[in-house]
């Protein structure tokens, strides 16, 4: 039976309206309980810290920071730096992401699958891998720049940051645009051709306009992530101070929490603006054809010259990434990359000793604990949003995404402020100290909470997309056959969203292992985090150790991702479900 073509509006960022009239059933007791628990968790882990950082930011020195936004040239400069960095990275990242997506959809060449994998690799890469590799290769004493080309460029600052951040974040643009392009009906191209338009004209008049919302949304997303990034400005930023690094210095250097809060709250502004703009401007959604079954074969571009030009950027980017990885891995086995390239295991011996080992074990364990919780939370929220809750759906969706929407520094500082002491109502303690030295479990609870709240949004988006694909009549059919809500979820819904769940879990683990900005404010001697250790090694110039840590981290991430894959056992639909997963590393 040929699938019918339904044209519907699709917005990746908003829960779409149900296929039929929303069911008017009152929620049963079980669902109500789940809803209450989920909302409570979100309030505790996101809203509570946010409120606290807000209030703190308006304390003395914080107010000073705010008031100097318009008067102090220094503060204005920092804001300017942040915005410029965001814009540059967003632009480059979107362009690169577009070319890569275009190559996947429109060109046929050997190694296409490999290109796809390489395009996604930065997502599971620790933040410092790129920065340290780039410094080693292209820095003042860089292997390529000094030894091969004889140049001594200044990489620290905007140039280095641009390179590194673009490499780190273009996969987000790539996945988003790829998802959109895959949903474009090939019949549109055919219609255009039948009306006399050349391929080039079709591209500019049909394809491109339909992709513009996707470009815009990628740009905005990249802007928010690049401007909020903390790890790279600390390592390769040099004198180029951005809001995130300034906040870090304020807290860890000057012990001025209000000022630090204030700086990171300024970061909240572009993020929230972007969020709101996306939601409301998303009313004019892109009209994308959604077919039940493919209605046409994709037409590849055969023209060799066109192919060549279109592949320049993708191939360059891919080669660059491979080069970076090669540097990291090679560097982990070298005494001092660039200076003494003789092979050694000293770096690895170092990271596996004492503190290093501790960090490796603890980080992995905490990430492993957080991953299923994040997956479950994201899935439950998605189920509530798509199937159960009618009034307040948008609010619930927004609340679930908040953990990822706020910059990492904001969340981290908020957590530190909130959980560095026990939570009391009046005289009674309702929560013990969860973060910082002296906390229960050495502060692991707070770290696991941060991991959870930062990675559940990705799972939420992924599960929402998957649930929307399922005809709501299927749930009703199950009910008409006597299955309770929970049984229906277990036997019908869950098996059908397994691929989405899988993607969510895998990225949750990868994200938790590689995140830095929220964690840096709540680590303790008892809960050392790998990314924090890498930062320490890079700061001390011990690149070899840093490379070793990075290599090991990548190895752990790949192994666990593979295990999750085997465990949940479904075919991970890497492009279409992943395209709905916004990945942030900040």
């Amino acid at each position: 039976m040929r699938g019918k073509t339904i044209t519907t509006t699709v917005n990746v960022d908003k829960p779409a309206k149900a296929l039929k009239k929303k069911s008017g059933i009152k929620l049963d007791i079980g669902t109500k309980t789940i809803l209450i628990i989920s909302v409570f968790l979100l309030l505790l882990m996101v809203v509570f810290p946010l409120l606290n950082i807000f209030t703190r930011a308006f304390d003395e020195s914080g107010k000073e920071v705010f008031s100097t936004i318009f008067t102090s040239e220094v503060v204005r400069g920092i804001i300017r730096n942040t915005i410029v960095l965001g814009v540059v990275v967003a632009t480059l990242g979107t362009i690169i992401g577009f070319f890569l997506a275009y190559a996947q959809v429109k060109l046929n060449f050997r190694g296409k699958k490999l290109l796809h994998i390489i395009s996604l690799v930065p997502l599971i890469t620790p933040p410092f891998a790129f920065a340290t590799a780039v410094i080693s290769l292209f820095g003042r004493s860089g292997i390529i720049t000094r030894d091969i080309l004889g140049l001594t460029p200044t990489l620290y600052g905007l140039p280095g940051l641009t390179i590194v951040l673009t490499c780190s974040f273009f996969p987000v643009a790539y996945m988003s645009i790829l998802g959109m392009m895959k949903n474009l009906d090939p019949a549109l191209d055919e219609a255009s051709a039948s009306l006399g338009a050349s391929k080039l004209k079709t591209f500019f008049k049909v394809t491109l306009p339909m992709l513009i919302p996707g470009f815009a949304s990628s740009f905005l997303l990249l802007f928010v992530e690049a401007s909020a990034d903390l790890a790279n400005p600390l390592v390769i930023g040099g004198d180029y101070t951005v809001l995130a690094s300034r906040a870090y210095i304020a807290i860890n250097g000057e012990y001025d929490v209000p000022a630090g809060s204030a700086y990171s709250l300024i970061l909240l502004v572009p993020g929230l603006i972007v969020f709101i703009v996306q939601r409301y401007w998303g009313e004019r959604k892109s009209v994308v054809s959604v077919t039940g079954k493919p209605t046409g074969t994709p037409t590849y571009i055969e023209n060799r010259i066109a192919k060549f030009f279109l592949l320049i950027i993708p191939v360059s980017m891919a080669s660059f990434i491979v080069l970076i990885y090669a540097t990291v891995i090679y560097g982990s086995f070298a005494k001092f990359l660039g200076v003494d390239n003789s092979p050694t295991l000293a770096n690895y011996r170092y990271i596996f000793s004492g503190i290093g080992n501790d960090a490796i074990m603890k980080t992995t364990i905490m990430a492993l604990i957080a991953t299923p919780i994040a997956g479950l939370l994201g899935m439950v929220l998605a189920w509530l949003i798509v199937r159960k809750v009618r009034k307040g759906r948008e609010a619930l969706d927004f609340l679930g995404m908040l953990g990822l929407a706020v910059p990492g520094t904001v969340l981290g500082i908020g957590f530190a402020i909130t959980f560095n002491h026990s939570t009391k109502i009046g005289e009674t303690t309702i929560l013990p100290q969860l973060a910082g030295g002296g906390a229960i479990f050495g502060g692991a609870v707070a770290i696991i909470m941060v991991y959870t709240i930062r990675s559940s949004p990705a799972g939420q988006r992924s599960a929402i997309a998957a649930l929307q694909q399922i005809n709501p009549a299927i749930d009703e059919a199950s009910a008409s056959l006597g299955a309770s809500g929970f049984t229906t979820f277990r036997k019908i819904t869950l098996p059908l969203i397994k691929p989405a769940l899988l993607t969510g879990l895998m990225f949750a683990f990868a994200h938790s292992m590689t995140t830095l900005s929220p964690i840096i404010f709540i680590t303790t001697p008892e809960t050392p985090i790998m990314t924090q250790k890498i930062l320490a090694e890079v700061d001390s110039g011990r690149f070899g150790n840093a490379f070793a840590f990075c290599t090991l981290l990548i190895f752990i991430v790949l192994t666990v991702m593979g295990l999750i894959n085997l465990l949940v056992r479904g075919k991970p639909n890497s492009s279409s479900s992943a395209s709905n997963t916004p990945i942030v590393r900040a």
Partner: protein, 373 residues
């Protein structure tokens, strides 16, 4: 109604009492179903028929439990089920999209309900095999839904609902996704199964042919209310309103005057210059009324030579369509365009376009009904 094989005792009665459903709030409120009262007899096949938005699907979904009534109650064998969740109601539903579970085989789909009920494995196997057999699906037991044709998917959906031996079977426009020929075939199959098992069934459709051909009674709905309930003959030959008459089949509405009673259920009227006695709806005498004449009731003959006029029972043929078994005319008459269908036409008597024709109908075949606004 014929006796059903051995199930008359287990057929259920369904009653709808003052059932209403309102969507939205305040100014945006929409009354989807407005105070419906209906008794559905045990073993009956009743169809809700009406245009889109008339409330038929909403009513069905309230019976199933997928919508909560804003007012009123639903009684199954005397017990109020309105507050029961759908999984607790002993009703089976066949959906428009079939809603087969894509990750399960045909067998797994059909055995889903019994497995939920935790019936013993042996019994499940027996029941499922029997149902699959009766619907000629045994050879496809291990296929997955996307390997089946539309008609086969429909049968699986039906089998899945039936294996539960529900007290009531609900059909939500199950045939809309099929092509015309398959539709005609499947509706007969559905009716046969229903009659054999004697399950009280409620069928929703906007297709009048469907409704007429398989229902014991038809409920015609419009704008959230019931317009008429009756057996197909009632609804077709004795419509209660212009809407019902117009919705089902083709109608000619002739203006009349001089309406007066002529005994029980009859009226004397002047129409087309003649005074005749016609069967009448009881409301027709109290209000302004109009005369319904179905096209198949009108006989058409060429007008007498030299008599070219539009008056009385004579008019000019504006359109003639020859369908083989019948001829369809559009004739300009004194009271407007009249549609006439002449079956088994005599070749020499087919009136060409532009010519004049005489038309007549047996007063017993007409029907006086209230002319609503």
């Amino acid at each position: 109604m014929e006796t059903k094989m051995g199930s008359a005792s287990s057929s259920s009665k369904l009653e709808l009492r003052n059932l209403s459903k309102v969507f939205g709030q305040g100014k945006e409120q929409v009354m989807a179903v407005d105070s419906i009262d209906l008794d559905i007899n045990p073993g009956e096949f009743i169809t809700f028929l009406g245009p889109s938005g008339c409330g038929k699907t909403t009513t069905l979904r309230m019976i199933a439990g997928f919508e909560t009534p804003s007012q009123g109650s639903i009684l199954l064998d005397g017990q109020d089920v309105s507050s029961l969740s759908p999984d607790k109601r002993p009703m089976g539903m066949v959906f428009q999209s079939y809603a087969l579970f894509p990750h399960m085989s045909v067998y797994q789909n059909v055995s889903y309900g019994p497995r939920i009920k935790k019936l013993p494995a042996e019994q499940v196997k027996m029941d499922v095999s029997a149902v699959l057999d009766s619907m000629s699906l045994s050879s496809m037991a291990n296929r997955s839904p996307n390997q089946l044709s539309g008609g086969q998917q429909q049968r699986v959906a039906l089998a899945r609902a039936m294996v539960m031996q529900p007290k009531v079977l609900l059909f939500d426009e199950p045939l809309s996704n099929l092509d015309a020929k398959l539709r005609a075939q499947m509706r007969i199959e559905i009716r046969e199964v229903q009659q054999r098992l004697g399950i009280t069934s409620i069928f929703v459709t906007h297709d009048q042919d469907e409704a007429m051909s398989i229902s014991d009674r038809i409920v015609v709905m419009r704008n959230a209310k019931i317009e008429q309930v009756g057996i197909p003959a009632d609804v077709y030959l004795r419509p209660a309103s212009v809407f019902v008459a117009d919705f089902i089949g083709i109608s000619n509405f002739l203006t009349v005057d001089g309406v007066s009673s002529a005994g029980a259920g009859k009226a004397k009227v002047n129409v087309l210059g003649r005074a005749i006695e016609v069967p009448a709806h009881k409301e027709a005498l109290n209000k302004e009324s109009i005369l319904l004449v179905r096209p198949e009731s009108i006989r058409v003959k060429p007008a007498q030579a030299g008599n070219a006029s539009v008056s009385g029972t004579q008019g000019q043929v504006k359109q003639v369509v020859f369908y083989g078994q019948h001829v369809e005319y559009r004739i300009q008459s004194q009271v407007g365009i009249i549609t006439a269908v002449v079956s088994d036409p005599i070749f020499s008597e087919i009136v060409p376009v532009g010519e004049y024709a005489e038309f007549a109908f047996d007063p017993e075949r007409s029907w006086l009904l209230p002319a609503d606004s």
